[in-house]
Amino acid sequence: MFLRLLFESFRRQKRRKTVALLSIALGMSIATAMIAVGTDIGDKINQELRSLGANLVLTPVEDTLDVNLGGVNLKPASEGAFIREQDLIKIKGIFWGHNIKGYAPFLSAPQAIRAKNTQIEAELIGTYFAQPLRYGKEDFTTGVRSMNPWWKVEGEWPQDYADWPQNQPPNVLIGTKLAEQNNLTVGDAIEIGDKNLRVSGILNSGGSEDQAVVAPLHIVQTILGQPNAVRRVTVSALTKPEDPFARKDPNKMTPAMRDRWYCSPYANSIAFQINEVLPNVRVEQIRQVEQIQGKVLSRVSGLMLLLTLAALLAAALAVSAAMAATILERRQEVGLMKSLGAGNVAVASLFLTEAGFLALAGGLLGFLAGAALAHRIGQSIFGSSIVVHPVVLAVVLCAAVLVTFIGSAGAVRKAMQFDPAVVLRGDA
């Protein structure tokens, strides 16, 4: 009998049920989309903030002080210590290796450059542009093209030669200011220490590289006679914003705390892990970048969290109001059932079961629609999709049932309080 009542109620009141279902589905798709976007926004903005470039810098421990002034390096190439280029790949092997988005080694020295029969004194910088590398089974590409997205090149980026090319001079970039001062353009030939090079692009970095020649690392190592040597490495890692726990000294922690610290992707703990694989290297946070990242990240995630809360509350209210409206409409039905002898429990259980079915169906529909919306938002704004965690489905279904029950319960109680005779006469 109960089942039949339930079934007939759905069959005969298609419009009402559709409206209720629609409201629940709409409310739950808001919930799904907002939860998905709100929980993923931190990661997405963190990825965007990687456009700030590296957040860690590696220098040799034994190194002498840098003597850089206005973009001119006054330290001779022979002075100071070096990091072995070969060892750098070990960075990918640390505990948080997957969070290392890339690294760029640098080797630089002031050089005499001959161009168009004039001699210029300028910095020669060697680095990776987009060097393909392999660690274990993972292939990846790293270099300044991805690490320093604010570097703009007019012309072509040079390739990363593994060795000195045999037949034609290797391509290099020339800083925009240096090019302007010496009338150099794309395609010009320059000569450094009796080696011939070709300018393939003009680099505009907005920094000291604008007055330098930037060449593939292996070419610079050959010119300087320093094979396998790099002076400085910048590393871009996805990190968790610094908090008081991150700043603690790992040597003074209890083993449990130390494990927790070690297994959190703080810039400090990643620096510590890099130091474990490269012991002769000093790893320093680029504090400006780290601090911007931490502050901006917490702001944006906080904002989305609060907006999500507000949206969830609104969705709950809207669904409750819709449910209340559809049940209030059915006062006469309640009156009829009661006058035929149905008890309050029987009536309430019928209405609540209906509401439960509606909630589950609406929640499922809403989840699917919300997931699609979140995916769209991710694609159009960040160019990568926002994946909805399956746990959200459970949360959304529970929320749907809870909200519909709350919305219906009040209305059902109200409807039952009336005298059946009054309701049936239409006076209530």
Binding site: S51, V67, N68, W150, G206, Q288, V289, T326, L328, F382
Partner: protein, 365 residues
Amino acid sequence: MTRMQLLLRLLFKAAWVRKDRALTALVSVAVVATIATAALTIYSDLEGRLSRDFRGFGANVVVTRTQGSLTQSDLSAMHKVVKAKQDVISLAYAVATAPNGSRVIVGGADIISLLQMNSWWSTKQVSTDGSALIGSRAAAQLSPSGQPFTVSFGSKALSIRPLAIFTSGSDDDSRIYVSTSDLSDATGLSSNVALLRIEGRPRNIEAAISKLKTSAPDLDVQPARQITQAQATVVGKTRSVVLASSAVVVVLIMLCMVATFTSSVLERRKDFAVMKALGASNRTVNFLFASEAALLALAGSAAGYILGCGIAFWIGKVNFEAAILPQPFLLLPVLLGSVALALIASTAPLRLLQQIQPAGILRGE
């Protein structure tokens, strides 16, 4: 009783007799208005809020005079584009020889302003009466425990009394900063570089830079593109996310409200039939239902606007440590939008009902 009085009475009674129904409709309008107001208020203020956060990251423009030193007119041109006096720091650099024979760069600046501008530096004070800031790498080699030492510029010596050791992760870690007068006494050099912190949204910063370039054309003005670019990207993307998700929420919740409204009108088909049976024209009935909906929507959206401003204010306080103030220009769109929506939602079902004979509705068809 005049027609007007009758209308008012009908409207009032309709809301009063079925309080819960009126309340449901009111709540659904208020929810839409609240969320729309809160989201739009936050959106309109977001760029300014986030840009303020980027302000904490020090100089975003470096100005250099390649030949000679900065003049008074250069400095006044710079002061015109920044807000506060301490947002311009002039610097001079010289290469000195350290006691161990290595070379070290010594910068001359107002070191207190320098510390304030570079607030992200992690600093460790080593003495109370010192006058120099030592980069961590320089300190490790020249003054590991913060003891005073002497550097020389050719024949002239400059004694360095460390005040604090700082770590920045940049070239500055290899440098020493002393006061402008100390450096110029020892070397005779005066400032040729200035660090500027220009506040504001990305486009304000660009405008300030181009203004500076035109007012002092022989200066080399270099924006810290790394920071300005990140600021533009992050602020832009965050705005888009807030806009997109608010749009989703507002549109869906509007649909929800329309559904609620429509069903509460359909519920009253008996009222409708009785009025028609008593001789009311379609126009009169439409007018009656529409004005009821409009009044409800007006009340609901006014409450929603106030509540929405409150939520935006609270989010600002909690998340940005500064309240986001109500935007009065949003009031009209929110009110009008809600009323228009309510009118559509309540009159559309009436058209359906008009196709049925009143007698049929009364009989319960």
